[in-house]
């Protein structure tokens, strides 16, 4: 759905881009969020433009998550990763 050409953005594209901007602004002071946001948006960029239902679903989900992120009680984001160890 992301744009590689000079064609004008559709309304939905503009909404997605403005959501991306709001996410990045809200995450500026809280460590750990920005890589996650970028990965999420970039991973979902491969969705076809015609798949409007999926895009709108992700958009609404993103709006809810943005509210959580803007909440004062959200401080930082971390992940666990499983280390590969031989044996038990």
């Amino acid at each position: 759905m992301i744009l590689h050409t000079m064609a004008r953005h559709s309304k939905l594209q503009k909404q997605v881009l403005s959501l991306y901007r709001q996410f990045l602004r809200a995450a500026q002071d809280k460590p750990g969020f920005v890589p996650r946001i970028r990965d999420e948006f970039r991973g979902n960029a491969a969705i076809k433009k015609s798949d409007v239902m999926h895009i709108e679903y992700l958009y609404r989900r993103g709006q809810r998550q943005l509210e959580l992120l803007k909440d004062v009680n959200t401080k930082q984001l971390g992940t666990f990763s499983k280390s590969k160890e031989d044996g038990s």
Partner: protein, 150 residues
């Protein structure tokens, strides 16, 4: 009354300028005087006060950033773009298009515009931001917003 207050301001400025010009030739002889205030006979001071133009103007103490020029805006824009990890610094030119020449997409363009907003300290609305596709356009937009002429 007003002329007396004005003359006292001018005298303190000239005194400050004279203080800053220490070591060099006296104020009056070196620079071309911009104006000569001769006080009226009702005031206490009998000497005319000379203001020297260039040195006084250079030493104004406003609480503001140095004025922007087209060259400085372009330098800062290119510097910020070179720091962006998705752009190859060798291929970057003032006229290189973000999407066609540098292979970026619209998400990257949003990030670039946000970096410009942080660098120059003012908000760029979405409607105008999505049209800025080359560094030259960004420089032109900022120059328009900040009233920079050259």
């Amino acid at each position: 009354m007003a002329s007396r207050a004005l003359a006292s301001c001018v005298r303190s400025v000239a005194r400050a300028a004279a203080r800053l010009n220490h070591g060099s030739a006296p104020l009056v002889s070196r620079q071309r005087p911009l104006s000569v205030l001769s006080c009226s006979q009702r005031t206490r001071w009998t000497q005319p006060v000379r203001i020297s133009g260039p040195s006084v103007l250079q030493r104004r103490h406003y609480g503001d950033l140095p004025p922007l020029t087209l060259g400085s805006i372009e330098d800062r824009v290119m510097y910020v773009l070179k720091l962006y990890d998705k752009i190859n610094p060798e291929k970057l030119q003032t006229v290189s298009h973000f999407m066609k020449d540098l292979g970026l997409d619209s998400l990257d363009q949003v990030e670039i515009i946000m970096a410009m907003e942080d660098e120059f300290g003012f908000e760029i609305p979405d409607a105008e931001a999505e049209k800025l596709m080359t560094p030259a356009e960004i420089v032109q937009f900022i120059a328009d917003k900040k009233d920079v002429h050259e």
